[in-house]
């Protein structure tokens, strides 16, 4: 419990004077997103359904688009560094990063693979990263479940959803936090 409080306080400190939503209050977790069972496409063009993909897993869900030049590169660099740190911790080695495009019209699987190459992301469920896109209708319902509007890629929030499906725990935090903070929040989810 004290750890959770410390992490949440750290989060609030880091976010002071920004417009990003704050993470869950200490001692409480948010309900998970009500994910629709609709087909999406992963970076290999394979059909994926988020309820299946997330089942039983600890996940970090982020939002981006491949044409994004401002927030996405630093966000992706921070997440890549965080993922590198998780690989060094046995308890977090299986965390899955799910990056969902907010621009399904602009991002097909080929664009997602290009983006991953540019940022040297290890792709695949086993490697810990899945990039997702899909047809506009299912994407609208999936993004809506995460409170992300479709149709205005440049307004997508720099926000992460952190969830542990087995424990039914979710929280949100800024995607621009230091990796150590995201790691702390994940450890609390798994505690």
């Amino acid at each position: 419990m004290p750890r959770r409080r410390a992490a949440a306080a750290l989060a609030c400190g880091a976010l002071a004077a920004t417009v990003w939503p704050r993470p869950a209050r200490a001692g409480t977790w948010l309900p998970g997103p009500a994910l629709p069972d609709v087909p999406l496409l992963d970076h290999d063009g394979r059909t994926q359904r988020l309820p299946d993909l997330l089942r039983g897993r600890t996940v970090v869900v982020s939002f981006f688009f491949t044409g994004c030049a401002t927030v996405c590169p630093p966000q992706t660099a921070l997440l890549r560094e965080a993922a590198r740190q998780w690989q060094l911790r046995p308890a977090l080695r299986d965390v899955l990063m799910v990056a969902i495009s907010v621009d399904p019209l602009g991002d097909g699987p080929a664009q997602l693979r290009d983006y991953a190459r540019r940022f040297e992301l290890p792709l695949g469920i086993a490697a810990g990263w899945v990039l997702m896109t899909g047809a506009p209708a299912p994407m609208r319902s999936v993004l809506g479940a995460f409170d992300v509007p479709l149709g205005a890629p440049d307004r997508h929030p720099a926000l992460l959803w952190l969830g542990d499906d087995a424990r039914g725990r979710w929280t949100r935090t800024s995607a621009l936090n230091p990796p150590a903070l995201t790691t702390r929040l994940l450890e609390e989810l798994r505690a």
């Binding site: 920004t18 401002t70 927030v71 019209l105 997508h156 621009l176």
Partner: protein, 510 residues
Amino acid sequence: MNARCHRGGADARPPRLSARPLAALQAPMLSLLLCLAAGASAGATTDDDIALQRQGRALFRGEVPLAQPATVQGVALPGAACAGCHGPRGEARREAGIDVPSIQWQPLTAAREAQPAYPDAQAVLGAIEHGLGRQAQPLQAPMPRYAFTAAERGALLAYLRVLGTESDPVPGVTADRVVVGSVLPLTGPQAAVGARIRAAMAARFEAVNAAGGVFGRRIELRAIDAGADAAGGSNAARDVLEVSGGGLFAFVGSLLPEPDDALRQRLRTHDTPMVATLGVPNADATMPQLTYLLPSLAAQVRQLVAELARRCGTPEGTARVLHPAGTPLARELATALPALQFEPIASEAQLDGALRRTEPLPVIALLPPGGVARLRAQWRAAGTPACLGTLAVVSGPQTAEEPPFEAAGRHRARFIDLVALPMPPLLDAPGAPAGATLWETLGDAAAQVFAETLARSGRGVDPARFQRALETLHRFQPAAGLSLTFGPTQRHGFDMAYLSKENPHALPSR
């Protein structure tokens, strides 16, 4: 005139003139004084100043790496540069819910929303290097922290002072002209093709220029020789960007199927559009700067598979692909279309063996013309039902010499023989060399795509505006019967068409 003088004067104001006595002057006199100051400054601009600004611009745009990569929250951001977030002109913008302020010198050194100006260059550097904003308030992520060398610091500051002003022109664009390049084979066996494309583009641009140009700017075409070998085009384009840097606004109508990785990187860092490229690449283009007129080979195969399934009544997405082993195209297709059965064919014996198999699947033959002719002849002799698809850009159109299969077949077996064309077919003018009309039409279409996009980009054209304008080209018709569409994911303008051996007329697919 006054506004222009004010803009020039803000940077050039002599340091000893404090703001107070200037403010006390009458406005006309102030304008005159600032004009004089600007004139004096322009006269004093040396080649060294310009060289320093160029170095600064290269750092600003990430065209050359920094000695130390920037960091955000302590994590290195290799390749990060100011232009990534602030754009090539440093104008205010908004993305991902974050307001990115203008970092042009005039707004930086003016108060903003009740916050005081950055008082001097040191304060501006404090923001970039130490994250101390107006009134020394910390700048939040995603603003990175930079650790410059003394040389980098000097160059970047020199450039920031002219960023977005008339002293910082868009590469290749001046008040009265836009310079574009086209990488074409001007020597070697393909020289005649290059000459035709060049002439068609030049004629179109000349017509546009004769009608007053685009926003008063003439379009100037520089043809760049790709030479005879495959790597020549990429090397030539890269060299041009390297040497003249900002000398070109865009490449237009280049005959360059596959820009190599080094050229792609260079296009990305210079943000140089390579528009309406004429080659046919193996896979669809994905980078924003690169567009083609014709569909990729992978897209052509994908559409051919779907069309054959429809016409032959076979399950969707299935086909046997006969192809020479080990080619880059085969590797690309196996990745892009893993559901297909790939059968490498390295000899006539292998081809004959493949033909003896009798799966009821369409066959897509990506073989040289001779291989496809042998295949057709064998099937014709056997008189068995067959369903064949070929690509004109791989195996040739093969329409004139051979009789329709049905007429020759002894049993009049059903034979569907589709030749995919990367665009609706064109008839050569009487007496013209084979293909002349094709290359001239493509060159003209490329020039029209550029001129139309330039017009839609507005007077203040830059690569970003050009890119957005290109994506508004929807069913653009450069010639009767030809329709081009570009979009964020559609980087290839023409749709496919088919020639059918059952019906020798061209059948547009959509």
